[in-house]
Amino acid sequence: MTEAGFAVEALGVTKWFGETTALDQVDFRVGPGVVQGLLGPNGAGKTTLLSALFGLVLPDEGSVRLFGRTRAEAGPGWLDGVGGFVETPRFYPYLSGRRNLAVLAGLDGGDAADLVDAALDRVGLADAARRKVRGYSLGMRQRLGLAAAMIRRPRLLILDEPANGMDPAGIRDLRTALRHLARDGVSVVLSSHDMGQVEEICDCVTVLCRGRVAFAGGLEVMQAGAPDPVWLLDTSDDDAALERARQGGGVKAGRRDSGGLVVHAAQDRLDAYVLDLGRAGVAVRGLELDVTSLESLFFQLTGEPERGSPGEQSPLARPPRREREPAGQEVR
């Protein structure tokens, strides 16, 4: 561990692929027992950063330390205690799930092979363990990926979109399992597009946009600075509902192209607004949360358009992508 006790400490990490800057001076730290969310739109650099943590990609600038050691300092044991996957977990399709884990456990050495059956049981694949992986669904492969990570007895778990393809019950159980692991001292890096998932699991969040860090900090800090959530509202009289919104009460409303209204309001303000509509004789026929507060902030930070929202222009400028300097070294 470093003095600060970080499981991951990436400082000033920059990576170019040809003329494209995939990562630009990225700082990324994960403390012990912390679930760290890594958010960003497609092409933000999440996968490149995770690949750099696994040593699959060598940064052109900056340093990556796992448990206080760079790869050069740690040698072949750099990934000891690190488990996880980048992108969708891939396995040998012509082998069974169990045989795949046995191969990986063989590469890990130690008593990893003894954990194969327990891991398959834990991820709910005991019944499918002898089936060839080519017949597995995406959700089953994600579970197998989690099992493959767990047989390494990780102190640092790096997961790239682990809930992809999982059923709702699986996603719920994954959240609980990750919280339990964090409570047991395992540091978790969770890359995701799903702000709601991050909100429920993570302690801290790093938002990447165009290869740069757009936000890094605790979830409560992020929530404190987040704009109001966005609601979709259907009423019996949209004109009257708009008029009531204009009269104040901390609610902003506008029309949707597809009909109905889009409303920006905190939960308590929305409750008051709905009660006010009722008193004014306007029936509420439908009310749906469209974008949560953190999703709104995410969209602002990354410059992504919000769905169906008249929206406010973000006060936070999207970080510009730095062009590669001509003298930069071609690495790929």
Binding site: K15, F17, T21, A22, G43, T47, T48, L50, S51, F54, G55, L56, V57, L58, P76, G77, L79, D80, G81, V82, G83, F85, V86, E87, R90, F91, Y92, Y94, L95, R99, V103, L104, A105, G106, L107, D108, G109, G110, L115, A118, R122, V123, G124, A128, M140, L146, M150, R152, R153, P154, R155, A169, G170, R172, D173, L174, T176, A177, H180, D184
Partner: protein, 291 residues
């Protein structure tokens, strides 16, 4: 099917890789086990075992003999001529195909299945993975040659154990001929290993299983054509196809072994250059994380 949401106590404890660190031998063993589970590898093993017997049956059924192939005119006289006919007929193209099917695929298959990220995020170095996979490809080539040689010899002995007329016109007693058959087939291992390394290079460089298998086979055929060109002696010696013919000297009267020694050097050169190039390409490549 549900994830266990509770605590995972059995997964606490020393991290994987923290204790004894298995090396190349473990990677080799796992690669060999993976190869053994592949349908095409099993099919090749079966074909290596039965094709010589089918060849014997086919030659016995026809009255004509393959007279334009060395030993062809003696196939109805002695069964020991049959393994040499098979060798003379197919060595230069069949054996490169045999080894390329595995060696040309062993690295590229990881690209095809997207599994490099899976195995490179375990407790193994690239060097260990490379050496283990390379050794597995060599193991397959050697095993295939042993099986093929054994089956050929068995099929020949089954057909008849009479003396054979050598390439110098001398009569070779059955016992000595048996040893020469084994030596001739064993001499093929040298260029086969050269083609194994060439196929590994194609597999690493192209990251494509079809190209990994196809390129060494294509090169084998091209070399056969080049052999027909009137190259200077050093040029002929440098071709990887030339050592396939070194066995001719074993059956001459008197026997000569110069081509075998030159073939040994040629094959070793191709093997070393292709293996080194494969490692350089593999060690330098970036895996994943493309923007």
């Amino acid at each position: 099917m549900s994830l266990a949401a509770g605590r995972w106590p059995e997964f606490a404890g020393p991290a994987a890789g923290a204790g004894r660190r298995p090396g190349v031998l473990v990677v080799w063993r796992l690669e060999v086990a993976k190869l053994a589970s592949l349908l095409r590898v099993r099919a090749i093993a079966i074909l290596c075992m039965i094709v010589p017997f089918l060849a014997v049956a086919g030659l016995n059924l026809q009255s004509a003999t393959p007279g334009d192939t060395p030993f062809g005119q003696w196939v109805h006289v002695s069964g020991l001529a049959i393994p040499m006919v098979i060798l003379g007929f197919g060595a230069q193209w069949l054996l490169p195909v045999l080894t390329a099917v595995v060696a040309g695929d062993i690295f590229a298959a990881e690209d095809h299945f997207g599994t490099w990220k899976t195995i490179l995020t375990r407790s193994r170095t690239r060097g260990q993975l490379f050496a283990g996979k390379f050794a597995a490809a060599v193991t397959f080539a050697v095993a295939a040659m042993v099986v093929l040689t054994t089956a050929d010899l068995a099929a020949g002995l089954l057909a008849g154990r009479q003396p054979v007329v050598g390439l110098g016109g001398q009569l070779v007693p059955a016992g000595h001929a048996t040893m020469l058959v084994i030596a001739s087939w064993a001499s093929q291992l040298l260029p086969v290993l050269g083609f194994t390394a060439l196929a590994v290079l194609a597999s690493v460089a192209t990251r494509n299983p079809v190209a990994g298998v196809g390129i060494p086979v294509l090169i084998a055929w091209l070399l056969q054509i080049v052999t027909l060109i009137n190259l200077p002696a050093w040029g002929q010696q440098a071709l990887l196809s030339t050592p396939f013919l070194a066995w001719h000297g074993f059956w001459a009267q008197p026997a000569f072994y110069g081509p075998f020694r030159e073939g040994l050097l040629t094959s070793a050169g191709w093997f070393a250059v292709c293996a080194a190039a494969s490692w350089l390409v593999f060690a330098r490549r970036t895996i994943g994380g493309a923007a």
